[in-house]
């Protein structure tokens, strides 16, 4: 294992449960991401050698699925839903105001590592459109000003 970090044991357990077969790659990556928050190079190498899979294949799979992150996320995350119902009700403006205020694009993290702004295809909370999720809490029927206010408070970014 890459280090003494106990979390590697959880990753190993997932692979063991699947008998270290190559097709458990995606399941294993889910475990890595749940345990570490993202997939870094040592993790990819570890998974590759444990499952006997080529490095390039592991990297190809990791970058195919948008759920997997190769870089650590910010301390706080704000996910703006861009599902159709939210879009029709102004989600693009929500996202735009966030991007403008924090000077980052969707998928990026602020320079100080405080905030990551992400988008979701659809949270399935169409009844609450437009919706956003701030650190796991869903905010429904949210407006730009309200969203900026709450994100700023959470991040302590109020300037």
């Amino acid at each position: 294992m890459p280090s003494a970090d106990k979390r590697w044991r959880i990753v190993d357990a997932t692979m063991r449960r699947h008998g270290y077969v190559g097709n458990s790659l995606i399941e294993t990556m889910h475990t890595v991401q749940e345990s570490f928050g993202y997939l870094d190079e040592p993790a990819l190498r570890f998974v590759s050698s444990s499952l006997n899979l080529p490095l390039s294949k592991v990297y190809g799979v990791a970058t195919f699925y948008h759920h997997f992150m190769l870089k650590p996320q910010g301390e706080h995350t704000c996910v703006v839903c861009l599902g159709t119902a939210c879009y029709i009700k102004g989600a693009a403006q929500l996202l735009g105001s966030l991007e403008k205020r924090f000077g980052i694009k969707a998928g990026q993290t602020t320079g100080d590592g405080k905030l990551s702004v992400m988008t979701a295809r659809c949270l399935g909370s169409c009844g609450l459109a437009p919706a956003a999720v701030l650190d796991g809490t869903v905010m429904g029927k949210v407006g730009s000003a309200d969203l900026l206010d709450r994100v700023s408070k959470q991040v302590g970014h109020d300037r």
């Binding site: 799979v61 759920h67 159709t84 399935g124 909370s125 009844g127 919706a131």
Partner: protein, 549 residues
Amino acid sequence: MTAEELETIAQEEREACGRKKHHLHVCMAAGCLSSCSDRVKDALEAQVKAAGLEEHCQVKPVGCMGLCAAGPLVSVADQNVMYKEVTPDDAADIVGALKTQQPVQRLHCRMDVPFFARQKKIVLENCGVIDPERIEEYIAAGGYTALHQALTSMNTAEVIAEVSRSGLRGRGGAGYPTGLKWSMVAKAGGATKYVICNADEGDPGAFMDRSVLESDPHRVLEGMAIAAYAVGASRGYIYVRAEYPLAVKRLKIAIRQAEKQGLLGHNIFGTPLSFEIDIRLGAGAYVCGEETALIASIEGERGQPRPRPPFPAESGLWGAPTLINNVETFANIPPIIRQGGQWYAAIGTEKSKGTKTFALAGKVNNTGLIEVPMGITLREIIYDMGGGIPDGKKFKAVQTGGPSGGCIPEQFLDMPVDYDSLVKVGSIMGSGGMIIMDETSSMVDVARYFMEFCMTESCGKCVPCRVGTVQMHDLLTKIIDRKATVRDLALLEELCDMVRNTSLCGLGQNAPNAVLSTLRYFRNEYDELLVEDDAEPALADAGAKENAS
């Protein structure tokens, strides 16, 4: 497990339920949960306790009640009363009203309105009624009797015949006859076969499958087990989006409970059928809703589709014959077996039988989940059940079928909703997302929104989809920016035709639909944005500015 044991569990559960006088149901599906219905449930329990009603009143977590926009929802099942937008502070009043039988007026949500009255619940029959995390409640509601019936009193051909008789068509979008699909897999040779449940509900604005999985997961397991028996499979997978953590959690609980009761695993009901189900998590790739991409993903590969034929029914997961149906399709199976294909076929239209769930969203008053008989008109859904367009705005179009579907204008509002009618007007049934747009929506912008979706979700394997969607998206942006000419629009139309006819899988083949349908009904909106051929001075100006800076 035997039939008697199943009946015993059901009896005990019904008796336990009958001992309580009042039944407070709190919606704990994702929609209401995100409005903190868990805190409402806690508050109700505390109030029940405070009122000393613990012996008489049950507070039960249940699945989706449908009217998601008005959540959190609480229902008093014994009094047929529903409350909307309930906060923890309302708990005392709700519990207080149990005695007086006078509903709390400010929270009261009428149930005799078309939104509820016009529904025909088959797939959703247990949603909002049973506790999704208790198998006993599912059994008490008649659960797993269909599986017992199929395994002990029908042969596999009879099961397939019953499904064929029902006229059920795939609820994932394409509408392929389910019975035919089952018989193809049943006929395919090979000792190993698989049953896969496609729960990769990726259409934005669609949350029917999620609601079923969160509210009544056992129904899907039972449907899969019946399918496994019919086609001769011993292993099943549920491929579910990682974005649905609650659905995944409830599925895991349901599988564990079913295994414990011997309803999954070896020799189910003492018959030779052995069937195990595993969950596989998606990882954020819409294209994995496509059968062959989904299979690649379960195999641990990049979710790229491969050309068909061969179809998964002949050569699917690890090369073995594989049956893939979506959540709603499997959820329809137990009632079809219990009540007969004939009964199911009597609902709906000539070519589209049964019911369909829809997720109603966008510019409509009642947002939420509904189940209606096929053949109902769009007008009934949008105006009667959905309560029309908010803020006195005018209806413009309804979008069905997600990114693969199209926009349907006002003149077709009285058209029956069925597979073939929707295709005729340039859209598709899809999985059941229904987004209503009012006069403020620009249809060119909507087309670009869906093209952006298809472009980002393209797997990149085939050229038309990988590059064509990007080119179409850029042309749409050029149109919206008022920089496009008649020539650009002509090129856009040519690309639509080419990408539709040459792409490898359904994602690319259907990617142009949003453009084509909006061009068909709202061409004037495109024309209005076009500029004269030679009016491109911005080119030089932009260059000058860039150079100067």
